[in-house]
Amino acid sequence: MTPSPSNDNPFAGDNSGIQKRETAARWALRVGSYIVVLITLAIMLHIFTKGAPVAFQSKWPFVNTKFLTELPATLHVIEDQQGNHIETDVNGADAIKKQLGDNFRAEKTISYSGGGILGPIIGTALLVIVSVGVALFLGVACAIYLSEYAKHGKFLEMVRLAILNLAGVPSVVFGLFGLGAFVLTAPKFVSVVAERSVLAIPLGFTTLSFEGWDTCVLSGGFTLAFVILPVIITASEQCLQAVPQGFRETSMALGATRWQTIRYSVLPFATPGILTSSILGIARAAGETAPIMFTAALAFKDKLPWQKDMPPLPVDASIFAHWEQSVSRFLGIFTESVQALPYHIYTLAAKIPQNEYAERAQYGSVFVFLVLVASLAASSVMLRKRLRAKYRW
């Protein structure tokens, strides 16, 4: 034992070795955790540096509006004798070729890489709206039951177990389920029953036939709804549980019924939290690819969901006919298959030969997609923080 200064603890042993080991271990752990952080940041940076030049531009309005407001199209690249490359679409190609005349040298076409990504963005938005609508309704109701009504017992345990297991089901299995259930079997009002119908119930003026909705926004949206249902249930239940028990007791003591208690003294305080957490559900629904592959998504579509050919109305058509057509146009949005951003990225990454033009479209779409999803996730986190500060019981 080395002699130590008098103000130290005379009974302390020599700790320098232990301390060194302690510091070394601490640094090892620290490095281990920062590796993950650095990899995440590196990936983000990579996508940003490659994708931002596609989505933004140096001139006003700084955002590449063409990329964000046009439908995907086949890109035609025309090379002239001087080696200049001219990018154009199907319609422009012929005109440019004529203009070049003898100067024309070669033409390349790259599928899906021209135009913009408006179609996929709209499609994803529609899918998210349907899925979050369905999932919020079912999920919040389920959470209310679990948090406010349920008593310990077999049923409660089964429900909790089912939620846990549902959260673990692979997304591609949800895709199979959606294909079997919504695309091929879901009930639908039809006038002529299809051959594949499982069951047809005649209702007089129409027939309720279990023949499925085909691949469309509704099928995809419902499938996604069940994918995100466990997330929504768990988050909503947490928010309901966070409302202090005293609120309920006070309300009950004043003679309110259980429903009145829930309606007036629990839900108002839980709703902001539920909505915020459901944004996470939106991000998840927007990001899933496998469930919509067979239920809603198309690789290519040159129209927006509401641009549908309708027979032109006669000039003297009644206001009712106009009204009817608008309604059917609106409903038609949900019974059409759409392009979706994640599926578009999959198509760009896996289904076409790779070159610089395809790469530009890929990174552009990935960048926009990631910005959308990340901002949703980030806003959810921020709002939750704000809410926590606001409601502090």
């Binding site: 955790s33 995440t40 039951y145 299995v173 259980r258 998840r284 899933e288 690819t289 999959y346 990454a349």
Partner: protein, 645 residues
């Protein structure tokens, strides 16, 4: 309650107990509300059941369908041909090994000459690429009728000449050439014109140099050359007989399938006719049904034609085995390089086994019966233990589950091996050591990974990680790593890395929760006993939270096995059992997975076909795996639960 206005005041007790509830259809509304929420709560259960029901509905017919297909496979005699054909496949692998050994040996003499030739040709191509435009203009001008003015052509010629000169100058000449040769190449390249069809003299010389060296090498390794040729040609007579039989069997099978299709069609028409009330319609349907009558195929007779030639086939197999063994005996001990010698030795060791296998197969030919029924158990075995997943084949479709399962499991194992230490270390650090500010950086960033869509990560795997791994694998000081340098950019390791990255947030958050749940008293007690921070963490906190950490790992595993897009994009999609004989380097081979195969193939098959049903069967298995993993995670969490202090 206007009880005061009523003439006779009711007793207090009845007022208090009076039901103020109104009812809807005799139900208490409060109860109705409760049931409404309760029924919504059961949605989770219902959905689970529905998933099972719909997977079953589409998939359950798979076994009978597959049984029928295998039955046809046997009856038509395809199986008979495969008895010989399957072991014969080994010949290809062996002869490709021999070819490799041969080319490696030849290279010891001819490599420089070949490299010089290839390099020169590559340089020439580069010059041609760079001067493509002026060359094309010149060619067009020359072909034009009437020919343009000579001075115009002269201009084009000069342009081409200039372009070629500058291109030839800007080339990077490898060290294979001497300075004089470089100059000559440069001159020759600059002089390239569209009319000159002959190769420039130096290139010709290089080609001649290579063929001389190659001849020399071939005479030096003459024994190896002949052995390799003999080995490769040995299959030919056998293959000829076999191909004849195969064509015959295939014809039978096609006829049988056609007959079956017509027969089902006929039965359906008859059924429709029986239901039809309208007499005219009925007559036309019956007529149509009669028209679709087909001649049944006499399988017995047709397969007899095949089995009749058993003796001939056996004779050929015997001959083949003899030739192969002779070739093995003739294989020289020496080869140009060490690797080649090893390859030759391997082949020499494998050939007797191969010959034995062929003879055994020939012996089995007699025991084969065309009408032996295919039992349902053998069909189940063929699915769950089948080693081939072959679809859209002109010969026979096989739905064997093993290649997909091994791919999934190997990728999952890689992912878990990478993700576990990282996420557990990160959880321990953030939970026990990090300052509040560090926590505020680490936690949100790791949780943010969860929000990255899987298709984006798959894309990153294609565009970034694949190239990164390939580049790293070519570093010379890393060549001791098994499997390096890698052949394929998209492989199981790449997919495993990305899945590990995806699994980190799940495992991190759950592990951190587990550490958080360790009772405070444990830590206090450890501190009081004078343990250092490190000792407390690793001997008290981690062991107490181990159940949570284990179940976090299991849940991460569930996530990894079920992930679709990353493996679909990155795993390489080769449907074969990875070659485990390559040792640990096997992780750099491509594979296909359970989830990937569904996503890739389901869009392209017609509903109700055996392929479609097979994919739903795979879905059923995946669903079962996910339930099993979840159950295990819960069981582990319960089993190791620390005693609450």
């Amino acid at each position: 309650m206007n009880s005061s206005q009523t003439p006779s005041r009711p007793p207090l007790r009845s007022v208090l107990l009076r039901s103020r509830k109104h009812t809807i259809l005799g139900f208490d509304p409060q109860k109705l509300i409760k049931y409404f929420f309760g029924s919504n709560a059961s949605v989770a259960i219902i959905v689970l059941v529905l998933i099972m029901v719909f997977l079953m509905r589409e998939g359950v017919d798979f076994l009978p369908t597959y049984q029928r297909e295998l039955q046809t496979y046997r009856r038509a005699g395809l199986e008979f041909c495969d008895i010989i054909d399957q072991p014969l496949q080994r010949n290809q692998a062996l002869s490709s090994s021999l070819r490799q050994a041969l080319s490696a040996s030849l290279e010891t003499l001819s490599k420089t000459a070949r490299d010089r030739r290839d390099a020169a040709f590559q340089l020439k191509r580069q010059v041609e690429d760079k001067t493509a435009r002026p060359r094309e203009s010149l060619t067009q001008a020359l072909e034009k009728t009437p020919p343009p003015a000579p001075d115009q052509i002269e201009v084009l010629r000069r342009e081409l000449k200039e372009a070629a000169t500058s291109a030839a100058k800007s080339l990077e000449y490898p060290d294979l050439f001497t300075a004089a040769e470089r100059e000559q190449l440069q001159r020759e390249f600059a002089a390239l014109t569209p009319e000159s069809t002959d190769m420039p003299p130096l290139l010709q010389a290089l080609v001649a140099e290579f063929s001389a060296k190659d001849r020399e090498a071939r005479t030096k390794f003459a024994a190896l050359v002949t052995a390799q040729e003999e080995f490769e040609e040995a299959t030919e007579p056998l293959q000829e007989v076999l191909d004849e039989l195969k064509a015959k069997a295939l014809e039978t099978k096609e006829k049988a399938v056609e007959f079956e299709a017509l027969e089902t069609n006929r039965l359906r028409l008859l059924e429709a006719a029986a239901k039809e009330t309208d007499a005219e319609e009925k007559a036309s349907l019956t007529k149509e049904a009669e028209a679709s009558v087909a001649e049944p195929v006499n399988m017995e007779e047709r397969t007899k034609e095949i089995t009749e030639r058993t003796a001939e086939l056996r004779e050929q197999v015997e001959k083949y085995a003899g030739v192969v063994e002779k070739a093995a005996a003739e294989l020289p001990q020496e080869a140009g390089t060490e690797a080649a010698r090893r390859l030759i030795n391997e082949v020499r060791a494998d050939i007797p086994a191969h010959a034995r296998e062929m003879r055994a197969a020939a012996a089995r030919l007699d025991g084969w019966r065309w009408d032996k029924p295919v039992s349902i158990f053998s069909v189940i075995g063929a699915f769950f233990f089948g080693t081939q997943w072959i679809t859209n084949s002109s010969w026979q479709d096989f739905f064997g589950f093993v290649p997909l399962l091994t791919g999934s499991l190997v990728i999952a194992a890689i992912a878990i091996v990478i993700a576990t230490p990282v996420s557990v270390v990160a959880a321990i650090y953030t939970n026990q050591f990090a300052s509040d500010r560090e926590k505020e950086i680490i936690k949100p960033i790791i949780e943010f990974i969860q929000a990255i869509p899987s298709v984006v990560l798959g894309f990153i795997g294609i565009s970034l990680v694949g190239n990164l791994i390939k580049d790293v694998s070519e570093w010379s000081w890393l060549q001791w790593v098994p499997g390096f340098p890698i052949q394929e950019r998209l492989n199981m390791f790449n997919a495993g890395c990305l899945l590990a990255f995806m699994a980190v947030p799940t495992m991190f958050s759950l592990s951190e929760d587990a550490l958080n749940n360790v009772p405070r008293a444990y830590i206090d007690a450890s501190d009081a006993l004078g343990a250092t921070k490190l000792q407390t963490v690793f001997r008290v906190i981690v062991p107490a939270g181990i159940s949570g950490i284990l179940s976090a790992i299991l849940l991460g595993l569930g996530r990894v096995v079920g992930e679709t897009m990353v493996v679909l994009l990155v795993a390489g999609n080769r449907i074969a059992i990875p070659d485990f004989s390559a040792g640990p380097g096997v992780i750099f081979h491509p594979a296909h997975t359970l989830t990937g195969i569904i996503a890739q193939e389901l869009g392209e098959v017609s509903r109700g076909s055996s392929h479609w049903q097979a994919l739903f069967m795979v879905g059923i298995v995946l669903f079962a795996i996910s339930l099993l993993v979840n159950w295990c995670a819960r069981a582990v969490a319960r089993r190791f639960e620390p005693h609450k202090a």
